[in-house]
């Protein structure tokens, strides 16, 4: 699989996008549930220092109808938005500690693709 295209300042994030960026919450959750503490750390260390720059770029685009490279960055940012608490708060665990089985939560709206 070729790495997804990304806007010029972020092309080095392409391997991370290939692994993490998916259009639906369920798909992103599957990836997150199988991630290790090292996976969360690698994503965090690559994304966190550039988060402000990424959000600045995304803020120039509407919530739907982005060009393909921006949309790929957007999906990577969505994956990071959902993954960052696992590094910051849950000690690298792929499950929320002391929690209900996340697989039993159902997205009621059919989990539309972003």
């Amino acid at each position: 699989m070729t790495d997804p295209i990304l806007p010029a300042p972020f092309v080095d994030l392409a391997p991370l996008a290939a692994h993490w960026a998916r259009p639906s919450e369920n798909e992103r959750s599957e990836i997150r549930w199988s991630a290790s503490a090292a996976d969360f750390r690698a994503l965090y260390e690559a994304m966190m220092p550039r988060l402000d720059a990424i959000l600045r770029l995304l803020s120039e685009h509407p919530a739907s109808g982005m060009p393909e490279d921006v949309h790929n960055l957007f999906l990577l940012a969505c994956a990071f938005a959902e993954a960052s608490p696992h590094h910051e708060l849950y000690g690298g665990s792929s499950a929320v500690p002391f929690s209900f089985d996340a697989r039993r939560f159902v997205r009621m709206d059919g989990d539309a693709a972003l």
Binding site: R56, A63, F80, S84, E88, F100, R107, M108
Partner: protein
């Protein structure tokens, strides 16, 4: 209909802790209403058939012909909620008047769709009904020896809306209108622009517990520092106060100085909290909620009897979150469908949308912590080893709901 009251108008609903102790008592509350399957059968008859139940929002069904099918095992009903050509939202039994087949096929507990021609057609024999109810056509109609089509429209269920929330009532002759049933609750929560918050993140799960175990777990702030130590670390100064009683309904306020915010949350939150659309809006709260407009307001925590909670935050609690709701639908005595929905105003750009994903994920994860206790709690109660719940002041919503339940069951 919007009826906004001032804090002074609603002064009679306010209760101090002493008032609550005096009015609702301080004794342990029996768990029998949770453990006894016979009580559940009574609840179906005396509560879920006798109260107004929220089943939809008007913004879920924005266009004529938009419909939602809601499966409600507690009433043995499949309910079709549909916006007619005239713009009105009605509710019907999703049952063909020919021989009883389901008119609109559904999967799971909720199914959305749109009828472009403003009719729904039974897939069994092709009977066609208008979205406002009447039977419009019957294939081979002349082959029926007798068929009074004028009386064979979809069977209507009483339906009304308040502030964009759509309620139904299964009783053919409800004892109260929705406005009267909501009473002071409608006046306390009325006036907030709920319908602006059309971006919804909706979750459900089936829990192996009685519906009241799930409901009660979301009805107090006492659990926050313990159960949410993971997802709400260092939550400081939780103050659960401003107790209010309103007939079968009740409410209270969670104030708090917030939590230790992680770096990513800080970055995402700033995308929302710096915009006019998503920033904390204590000024938009109805006047009797957080009447002093305290800056540490997090959200209002009510119970709309029997099974609905609107946590009104107005952007003050979780960043950018307008409000969130919980609903608890019994499937049988020991099984419950929980529905949790986070509502935001629509994102104006892709960065705001990512930020909402983050806030939603944090809150979804907190719900995973909440739901973790429910099946264990029910199993514990069903073991017979405890007879009663010990309830502290901040658990007064539970005490009040249990008392209201008893009142309905005794009626």
């Amino acid at each position: 209909m919007t009826t906004t009251c001032t804090a002074e108008d609603l002064r009679h609903i306010n209760r101090s802790v002493d008032d609550i102790r005096e009015e609702l008592g301080v004794d342990p509350v029996s768990v029998r209403a949770i453990s006894d399957p016979a009580i559940y059968e009574l609840e179906r008859e005396k509560i879920f058939s006798k109260t107004w139940l929220k089943v939809a929002t008007i913004w879920e069904l924005p266009h004529a012909g938009d419909y939602k099918v809601k499966e409600l095992p507690v009433a043995d009903a499949s309910v079709l909620i549909v916006r007619g050509k005239d713009g009105r939202i009605r509710a019907f039994h999703n049952v063909c008047t020919h021989r009883g087949n389901k008119v609109v096929p559904s999967s799971g507990f909720e199914t959305f769709g749109r009828s472009r021609a403003n009719v729904v057609t039974c897939r069994f024999h092709g009977w066609v009904f208008s979205t406002d109810g009447p039977l419009r056509s019957v294939p081979m109609k002349e082959k029926f020896g007798k068929l009074d089509t004028a009386c064979l429209g979809l069977r209507e269920i009483h339906c009304d809306s308040w502030e964009g929330f759509v309620f139904i009532h299964f009783d053919p002759e409800p004892a109260q209108t929705l406005t009267d049933y909501l009473g002071d609750f409608g006046r306390l929560f009325g006036g907030y622009p709920y319908a602006e918050s059309t971006t919804a993140f909706r979750y459900s799960t089936v829990l192996n517990c009685n519906w009241k175990v799930a409901h009660y777990a979301f009805s107090e702030g006492y659990h926050v520092p313990t159960i949410h130590a993971g997802s709400l670390p260092g939550f400081k100064g939780v103050e659960h106060g401003d107790f209010k009683l309103m007939g079968p309904h009740a409410s209270s306020t969670i104030y708090g100085a917030g939590m230790d915010t992680a770096p990513s949350t800080l970055a995402f939150a700033s995308m929302l909290s710096t915009t006019e659309r998503h920033r904390p809006r204590p000024d938009q709260l109805p006047p009797a909620i957080n009447p002093e407009r305290r800056a540490d307001f997090q959200f209002e925590l009510p119970n709309l009897f029997p099974n609905f909670i609107i946590h009104l935050a107005s952007g003050c609690g979780y960043p950018g979150m307008s409000f969130f709701t919980h609903q608890f639908w019994p499937l049988d005595h020991g099984r419950t469908l929980w529905e949790g929905i986070n509502y935001f105003r629509p994102a104006q750009n892709a960065a705001e949308q990512v930020a909402q994903q983050h806030v939603n994920a944090l809150h979804r994860n907190a719900w995973l912590e909440d739901t973790a206790t429910m099946e264990d709690t029910f199993a514990g109660i069903m073991s017979g080893s405890i007879d009663a719940m010990q309830l502290m002041d901040q658990e007064f919503l539970i005490r009040h709901a249990a008392r209201t339940l008893d009142t309905y069951l005794a009626a």
